[in-house]
């Protein structure tokens, strides 16, 4: 399966890891009847979408500090069009979950996710967001945000380095690029999108 032209700022496809994931994703999108050889218009829209991903700041704990570092001078996510951090879910494209999610926060997170407009993405950054992290045995910690909302990209680490977070962001951009904007898949992962035959919200 050739996934062509998925370059981010001249970083070629081969430079990335986890390419099998993307290839599988594309394959399953095709199987599910979604045409990935997207038209020029969809390409244009995706170019715009993937280069101006606006994150919702949702940092609950330690990992949030590394997010600040990604935003500050050295790592500087503005290079990839992410600098417009939004405080309202209605203006955000991606929900970046930094830090531990606890029982009391879970409904808040869910509601924020629901308030976001489609198409929306979720990044789970840090072991806590992925699976409870060091607090897995706690009575008040949600063992991974996937229990509540679907996740597109996972960035492991406790906390992940700013470079790792940036890498995760680029992976999300690539994922956005292979989608057909007019027939967006419903789930974030290959298996789910093939099941649902890709009828997402196409507004």
């Amino acid at each position: 399966m050739e996934v062509k032209n998925i370059r981010i700022k001249n970083i070629p496809h081969e430079e990335f890891k986890d390419n099998e994931y993307l290839e599988k994703y594309v394959a399953q999108l095709r199987e599910g009847g979604v045409n990935v050889v997207v038209g020029a218009l969809s390409d244009l829209i995706n170019w715009g979408r993937s280069n101006s991903v606006w994150p919702l700041t949702f940092a609950t704990s330690c990992c949030g500090i590394e997010f600040m570092c990604v935003g500050a001078a050295r790592a500087d996510f503005a290079r990839f069009g992410w600098e417009v951090t939004r405080n309202s879910p209605r203006q955000a494209d991606v929900l970046m979950v930094f830090g531990t999610i606890v029982h009391k926060m879970a409904p808040v997170l869910k509601r924020l996710y629901e308030q976001m407009a489609e198409p929306k993405y979720v990044m789970a950054v840090g072991s806590c967001a992925i699976g409870g992290g060091p607090f897995k045995s706690s009575y008040h910690v949600v063992k991974g945000v996937e229990e509540i909302i679907p996740v597109d990209v996972y960035v492991p680490g406790c906390p992940p380095r700013p470079d790792a977070i940036l890498y995760g962001m680029l992976q999300l951009e690539r994922k956005i690029k292979v989608q057909n904007f007019f027939r967006l898949p419903a789930g974030p992962h290959p298996d789910e999108s093939s099941k649902t035959e890709g009828d997402g919200d196409n507004e």
Binding site: S61, I65, P107
Partner: protein
């Protein structure tokens, strides 16, 4: 000290008084706890450091750590407990010490002890519909992740239990009146200070009162500690107040070393001190940047983060981690310092001095910034002591509370530095004191970095660390104030009870005190000037 304890023993003839080193322990029956508290208050114990709830098996009780603002090195423990487990009741001390208000709510939340006379018996971290009291030893897990929002009515339902002629009376009221205009702020919000939920009652543009709602990042660390080994606990301590991670870890290391009778090598003390101060600088830079950002100045934030990266580089090289260095261990350091360490640190000092001047030029002198910070948010000395507002914020109100001076630990006794003080307790004082503390931290580092002794960096400990039976207490100065660890050990490899005193919790108490009367637009800035870290509050 002797005289104080004998005076106490004479005044409280119903109490069992024991003296051990710098600590006096006073045990009283719970019915007379308030009386004892009043007597101690008269003796000058005006600072309640911490209140620890304990489930002793057949009893439920409280240990209060008290100190005097005049003589902060002295610590007194006041203990009282009840054997009633079904409907435990204790006397509230909220009218004697302002901090007791939140501490008692916390104990109610964790142990289900109702404090008689407490004006606000609500859960503090957990939701109102939470089943059980998690820190009790007989707690069984039976709570699922809730997916519906907490009801406002639940949040506002205030319960007070009073005792009238031996009869208990329960009065339920609402926190805010029907006519009050209440605005929610958070838990997800643009301010840089974490997931704090504030409910503010407004009168036009002015704040009438605020009610902080905690628990959105309550991770249950204290309970986890009870099943973790001591070296594992270190990693949790790092993640409490992640901006002071090194110092929190230091506190646990010192506590364990003291309990085990270990003495870490001189080299470890030096390096820990340097790292503590570097962490303080990093934290203050972030605090400075975030405060500026909260006031709308993004440039300052970027500058602060840029300088902070230099500190992170030093950490990364020597410890391997950036934010979570994970470097101190019980008995010393995890590994030797990097060969570049001294060079890098020595280079950082002049760089930071230069940048500090620039930061002052950029922001401190800015007329708009001055206009917003000056004359706003006064925290008086008396309030600071009663509410336990320690650290830079307390010192801005003129309270000498620096643990590095009071009880010099590690290498602080060997260096010459100044405890930066101001007296007005205004927002501007709290702002400027942090920048001045960076200068002092640089001074400390400067005196130590060239004299790091050579030799071993750690002493060997047993593969399984078991603390002897007893109660241990350690205080250190982290970037936000006095961070204390209380450990009760029963001789096992895990502690019986661990309690962390979060300096940030009391800082929010400070916010509650200074917010009324200010403009709602200043609320975020006031919070930023206190510089709390929410995960440390919620633990």
């Amino acid at each position: 000290m002797e005289t104080t304890s004998s005076r106490i023993a004479a005044a409280l003839d119903y109490a069992a008084v024991a003296v051990e080193g710098n600590t006096t322990t006073v045990a009283v029956p719970w019915e007379r706890a308030h009386e004892a508290g009043e007597a101690l208050r008269r003796e000058g114990y005006d600072y309640l450091i911490d209140m620890v709830g304990v489930d002793g098996g057949d009893t439920l009780g409280v240990t209060c750590y008290l100190s005097q603002s005049e003589n902060p090195a002295h610590v007194l423990k006041l203990k009282y407990s009840t054997t009633e487990r079904e409907r435990p009741r204790l006397t509230s001390l909220h009218d004697l010490w302002g901090t007791a208000n939140v501490y008692e709510r916390e104990i109610y939340d964790f142990f289900g002890i109702v404090f008689i006379g407490h004006p606000d018996m609500r859960r503090i971290f957990l939701r109102n519909d939470w089943k059980g009291y998690p820190l009790r030893k007989d707690y069984v897990e039976r709570n699922d992740v809730p997916l519906d929002n907490e009801r406002i009515d639940d949040m506002e339902r205030v319960c007070t239990v009073t005792l009238e002629m031996g009869q208990e009376r329960e009065a339920v009221s609402k926190l805010f009146g029907e006519e009050e205009y209440v605005v929610n702020f958070g838990p997800q919000h643009p301010a840089m200070h974490g997931v704090l939920h504030l409910r503010a009652s407004l009168d036009g543009e002015q704040i009438r009162s605020i009610d902080p709602v905690f628990g959105y990042i309550h991770r249950g660390m204290e309970k986890m500690c009870e099943s973790y080994t001591y070296p594992q606990i270190l990693h949790l301590a790092d993640r409490l107040d992640y901006l002071s991670g090194t110092m929190n870890r230091h506190a646990v290391c010192l506590l364990a070393e003291k309990a085990l009778g270990l003495e870490a090598p001189e080299k470890a003390h030096y390096v820990r001190t340097i790292l503590d101060e570097l962490t303080r600088i990093a934290s203050h830079l972030l605090g400075w940047g975030c405060m500026a950002m909260d006031m709308g100045a993004i440039t300052a934030f970027v500058y602060g983060m840029r300088d902070r990266e230099k500190v992170m580089d030093i950490f990364e090289e020597t410890a391997g981690g950036r934010l979570m260095a994970g470097y101190g261990v019980i008995g010393g350091l995890a590994q030797d310092i990097h060969p570049n360490f001294q060079k890098r640190v020595s280079e950082f000092i002049p760089y930071m001095r230069k940048m500090l001047r620039e930061h002052h030029l950029l922001f401190t002198g800015n007329p708009i910034a001055r206009g917003r910070m000056e004359g706003v948010g006064r925290l008086t000395l008396q309030q600071a002591v009663s509410l336990g507002v320690t650290g830079p914020s307390g010192r801005a109100s003129g309270w000498h509370n620096d643990m590095r001076k009071i009880e010099p630990y590690a290498a602080y006794g060997k260096v010459d530095f100044e405890e930066v003080m101001r007296s007005d307790g205004l927002t501007f004082d709290r702002y400027v004191i942090r920048l001045d503390e960076i200068e002092q931290s640089l001074r400390i580092i400067e005196q130590l970095v060239d004299n790091i002794p050579s030799g071993a960096w750690a002493v060997k400990t047993k593969p399984v660390v078991k603390l002897p039976e007893g109660e241990f207490f350690q205080r250190v100065e982290n970037a936000r104030g006095q961070f204390c660890v209380h450990v009760e050990s029963r001789g096992d490899k895990s502690p019986y009870r661990v309690k962390f005193r979060s300096p940030s919790l009391t800082l929010v108490g400070g916010l509650k005190a200074i917010a009324p009367g200010t403009k709602v637009a200043d609320l975020i800035m006031l919070g930023a000037s206190l510089d709390y870290v929410i995960p440390c509050i919620d633990r």
